[in-house]
């Protein structure tokens, strides 16, 4: 009882009130206020259809994807404390992360998180298709989702190179060699041999899309730096922006789908 009295007193202080502008969310007004008044929660509608909160319907895969994205951002930033994207140090730094850096599972969290994000993204799309939720008025948001899916894979793919071990460079080599085969743009792709004016080769191994991707003819230090920037700055920014669009459109397109 005393504790309760103290709690009540705390709730009446100016400090508490300045932070929480409403009472405990146990009535309609406060429940609305808490969602509408909180910058993080106001992504949600104040009320939504019951099916929208049922795991059996939503599987929560979209939400998890977003959360894992946040977790990856945090762990990724922390990893940047100890990782240098150079041919000299990259591999040794990865060893260091396991051998002597405190909290030796940071890299694991990041890597398994990345895999999880791919999985949750796929499952999210699977669910959306199964419930036909791409249908009007949500066609555009489905498209945004597909692009996010591609970006998720790219994020994971660019991160795959950073440990700078055999697994990394050869997986990226295999992947980058596909870019080589892009029709007309890769020097090993169909049509590339046509793009030639006399001795002047328009599409060769030193100016095609693979070269652009790797900043070289093979996976080397420039590619490492490039993938690092793509992985840590460029793609996350794009993904973040598109996530905002995606969420906005979920709300604007009528919330989580339900039978019309």
């Amino acid at each position: 009882m005393a504790a309760k009295g103290l709690a009540d007193k705390v709730r009446e202080t100016q400090v508490w009130k300045s932070i929480f502008r409403h009472g405990p969310p146990d009535n309609a007004r406060n429940r609305a206020a808490v969602v509408a008044g909180n910058v993080f929660l106001h992504l949600h509608p104040i009320k939504l259809k019951k099916s929208g909160v049922q795991l059996g319907y939503t599987w929560c895969m979209g939400g998890l994807t977003f959360f894992i994205f946040l977790a990856l951002t945090v762990s990724g930033v922390l990893l940047m404390f100890y990782y240098r994207p150079t041919a000299e140090y990259a591999f040794n730094d990865i060893i260091a992360l396991r051998e002597h850096v405190p909290l030796g599972i940071m890299r694991e969290i990041h890597r398994w998180g990345a895999h999880s994000m791919v999985i949750t993204t796929w499952l999210h799309m699977f669910r959306v298709f199964m419930t036909g939720s791409y249908k009007p008025p949500r066609e555009f948001n489905w498209g945004v989702g597909v692009i996010l899916l591609v970006l998720t894979l790219l994020l994971s793919f660019t991160g795959y190179l950073l440990p700078w071990d055999q697994l990394a460079i050869w997986a990226i080599t295999v992947g980058a060699n596909m870019a080589k085969a892009t029709p007309f743009l890769g020097h090993g792709g169909p049509g590339a041999s046509l793009a030639q004016i006399g001795d002047f080769v328009l599409v060769s191994d030193k100016n095609d899309v693979r070269f652009q991707l790797l900043a070289g003819r093979f996976v080397g230090e420039p590619a490492l730096l490039r993938f690092y920037i793509l992985h840590c700055v460029f793609i996350p920014l794009v993904v973040g922006t598109l996530i905002a669009v995606h969420f906005w459109r979920v709300r604007k397109d009528g919330g989580i789908s339900a039978p019309l």
């Binding site: 694991e108 791919v118 249908k135 066609e139 596909m178 996976v219 039978p259």
Partner: protein, 358 residues
């Protein structure tokens, strides 16, 4: 027994088997979508998986840290696929009775407060996911191999697991198809889905009966052409990208008899029994005709059929053609696979001069 499974795991045999299984599953989804089926299949799958895992060769591949996500994915997809069937079967039964889907019942359409219903659910999922991730991270160490060495490629050199489906396609297609065109088509096709699928039913609830074409098409691509190929690429491809049964030791020296022949070689040498023509386009004429025919002539032809007419009526000309072209492109993969297995066909069009092999 293990020998038998090794034998049947080869894509030549397992791909048709998977297709048949897929057909049965879709056809009898109401049987699949019952709890009884779930229990029976669990009773079957769990001991079988354990038996699989006991095998040392399979176990070594299974617990490669980078393969764990695939296992998680498979378990998740297995359950969720059953779950959609379960829900869809319920809904479809209700719809037949004229009751409408479960999601549409008044109590499920009731509006509820985000706080605490939604917010708590999310918080729980966050906690659960974080815990799961941490446990996973503690138990399984991230892989780290030898330092990057540009002069020596490991065998097999595999892409990340989520791209292994694509890498498996490389067996059947040249990189420009498997690595660029087909993935591009997948992305474009996915984006195009809402615009092609004009069926107003099935929006916001699980159903199969009300949107059979969409379901059959999507699930075939997702389960058979994507996930199945990832499984093959991960578990059944070893050094030199050679096929290894699940219980087979990855012997680096395994050699498989494989010699593939181009369509043009079939045509000129085997059928016409003459020398190959000098001009490359003449040489490849049959392949070119077939390919163009496949992508240009088949759509109008199909439009003339009964189904074609029916669909055009529903969705219009443009949507129909886009749909058909996408479908044909998707089906080109299984077609090529089957041709490879049956006739050892290497390329339908082989124009290495232009890097254009199909």
């Amino acid at each position: 027994m293990r020998e038998l499974i090794n034998y049947f795991a080869d894509p030549i045999r397992s791909f048709p088997a998977v297709c048949v299984l897929f057909y049965l599953m879709m056809k009898y989804y109401r049987v699949v979508g019952t709890k009884k089926f779930l229990y029976w299949s669990l009773a079957f799958i769990i001991p079988v998986s354990i038996w699989f895992a006991i095998d040392p060769n399979f176990f070594t591949i299974l617990i490669l840290p980078d393969n764990i996500p695939i296992i998680i994915l498979l378990v998740a997809v297995g359950f969720l696929q059953w779950f959609t069937f379960y829900k869809a079967a319920q809904n479809d039964a209700r719809i037949e009775e004229g009751l409408g889907p479960l999601e549409g019942t008044p109590e499920n359409r009731e509006k509820v407060w985000s706080w605490p219903n939604l917010v708590y659910t999310e918080l729980f999922m966050i906690i659960a996911a974080t815990s799961f991730l941490i446990v996973w991270a503690i138990v399984f160490k991230a892989p780290l191999e030898e330092p990057a060495n540009p002069t020596w490629a490991p065998n097999p050199a595999k892409a990340p697991w989520y791209f292994l489906g694509l890498q498996e396609m490389l067996v059947y297609f040249d990189p420009w198809m498997a690595g660029v065109v087909l993935p591009g088509v997948v992305v474009v096709g996915l984006i195009a889905i809402p615009y092609i699928d004009t069926n107003p039913k099935g929006n916001g609830y699980y159903t199969i009966a009300e949107r059979p074409v969409a379901m059959w098409g999507f699930l075939f691509g997702w389960l058979v052409l994507w996930l199945y190929l990832i499984i093959v690429g991960t578990f059944l491809r070893g050094p030199n990208w050679t096929f290894y049964g699940p219980f087979e030791y990855w012997d680096y020296h395994k050699v498989v008899a494989e010699y593939n022949v181009n369509l043009s070689e079939f045509m000129w040498i085997k059928w016409l029994n003459t020398a190959m023509p000098e001009n490359m386009f003449v040489r490849e004429i049959l392949g070119i005709i077939l390919s163009l025919g496949y992508i240009i002539i088949l759509p109008p032809l199909s439009a003339a059929t009964k189904y074609g007419k029916m669909m055009i009526e529903k969705v219009g000309m443009i949507r129909y053609y886009i749909f058909i072209v996408l479908l044909l492109l998707m089906m080109s993969l299984p077609i090529k696979m089957v041709l490879r297995w049956l006739f050892s066909l290497k390329y339908i069009i082989a124009l290495p001069e232009l890097e254009l092999n199909l």
